[in-house]
Amino acid sequence: MKRRYSIASESSVIVYFGTTIDPVISQEVQKAYHALKAKAQEGFYEIIPSYASLMVSYDVMRFDFDEVCEIIEKSIHDAEALTLSESKIITIPVYYGREVGLDLELLAQEKNLSVEEIIALHVKGLYTVYAIGFAPGFAYLGEIDERLATSRLASPRKAVPKGSVAIADRQSAVYPSQSPGGWKVLGRTPTAMFDATYEGLSLLHVGDHVRYEPISKEEFLKLGGQL
């Protein structure tokens, strides 16, 4: 599909690279995102990537719609020759105990699998960060094994504990802070997802790869995890 430029608002352009969750499309979005970030165009206030689209919010005092589209198109074109630098692989330690894996039993019943099988399926994947949103540092990771694909909870929790590792549809994510949410919780990580001391503030960025590593309760506590 050719890129499609659309109005988002009087000061935002959205570029569509496709309409599906697809690693190839996601890579195109990432390339464009990195190229535009590197260009550091003054007056481009926000450059937000998602699964198959990218939005630029711009200073209307400086640009009109066509100019912005041209700058984006040129940046993408210039970046085509570049290969994306090797994605980082980030390992996130997870304690999959019953007291923190709030929906392990529920999911085991729903999927007709044992809790151990659920954990094994979740751990074996290498995931890609497709988008970040919902909350600071909340990364949408895809795709989980289809045997784990699940709906959201019928009634969302008012407070999902910080660090909860959860799944919904064919995606996985870690809740960076306590917040309401309806994803099914499998475990908890002691690692901070969003921290003022991190370079770039967020542990994960679009395009990164992620692996979950099971740890024991003792290790979880030693790493600063809270039950």
Partner: protein, 309 residues
């Protein structure tokens, strides 16, 4: 120390500037003043640059004590402010003395009022802005609304001599029924001719379902051809329509990405008007061209840029 002491936090007061930029790609919301017009005038009157942190008062009920001399202005919703029990006017400056108490009732018109102080409140700068994002618990004073006992440091600045009062012609009104201009975009094609006709010809009511994140409007249902889309970035003013068919206008503390179809976006200057709409107020949407929308936005920011020059 010079400053302003919070004696009563009211419903929801927070420190806001024009908002946070450049961090939505890692999920931080824009935040900032819900009504940049009243916010801008408040800063203008006390001689500040446009993007200077001010106190945003939602609905009312707050009070503050000056612990030193300072120059303030109050703009936006009329919450019947008083100084030591005496009624004071909006849209002008006041030189406060040590011990003066500024108190607010509740808004009869509008939803948000702003207190600006000459030199700006000396609150922490975090993640590129002074704005509080209440949902995320970051920015402003410890990422939360103001509460009794908070002390907001101020500078020892006098009122500027050349701009005591805002000219009457500039003072905005906050009527109970408004028309907001919208630029079509995003998934407009998912809204067929008849649903667009419904959307642009209906009168929607704000029943108070909303906050700094966005306002849901009640009225004729508009049904998009798809109930969900692949999650994508959301801009200021975006009008999304979930399967319940009622439009939600996304405002300053909106989520950064989302998966509901959007018909387009309300232009920034009209989002400021919408933010001030009281519960029970009504809204009509009017389509405008991109050129016209940009002209309106440019006119707004040009005005404040010129005041700074």
């Amino acid at each position: 120390m010079n400053g302003f002491l919070v004696e009563n936090g009211g419903m929801q007061c927070s420190i806001q500037d024009a908002g946070r930029r450049g961090l939505s790609d890692i999920g931080l919301t824009q935040s900032g003043a819900m009504d940049e017009m009243a916010f801008g005038y408040a800063n203008f009157l006390v001689g500040n640059a446009f993007n200077t942190p001010a106190i945003e008062i939602a609905m009312g009920g707050a009070s503050f004590k000056a612990r030193s001399e300072m120059c303030i202005s109050i703009c936006g919703a009329n919450m019947q402010p008083t100084c030591n029990g005496h009624k004071i006017a909006l849209w002008q400056t006041y030189q406060l003395r040590r011990g003066d108490v500024i108190a607010f009732g509740f808004a009869t018109q509008g939803q948000f009022a702003y207190i600006a102080v000459a030199g700006g409140f000396q609150t922490p700068f975090s993640y590129g802005s002074y704005s509080t994002s209440i949902k995320e618990g970051l920015g402003g004073v410890e990422g939360r609304k103001l509460k009794v006992g908070d002390f907001l440091e101020t500078l020892d600045a006098r009122c500027p001599v050349d701009r005591r009062k805002l000219e009457r012609k500039f003072i905005p009104k906050y009527p109970d029924s408004i028309t907001v201009r919208l630029v079509k975009g995003y998934q407009e094609a998912m809204f067929d001719a008849s649903s667009q006709e419904t959307f642009f010809n209906s009168v929607y009511t704000f029943r108070g379902e909303g906050d700094r994140m966005g306002y849901r409007l009640s009225g004729e249902r508009v049904v998009p051809s798809h109930t969900g889309i692949l999650s994508e970035p959301i801009c200021y003013g975006a009008v999304q329509v979930p399967s319940h068919g009622e439009p939600i206008v996304l405002l300053k503390e909106r989520q950064t990405i989302g998966g509901y179809p959007k018909i387009g976006s309300v232009i920034a200057v009209d989002c400021f008007k919408l933010a001030q709409l009281k519960v029970g107020g009504t809204v009509k949407f009017k389509e405008v061209s991109l050129k016209e929308a940009q002209r309106a936005t440019r006119a707004f920011y040009t005005f404040f840029k010129e005041q700074e020059a």
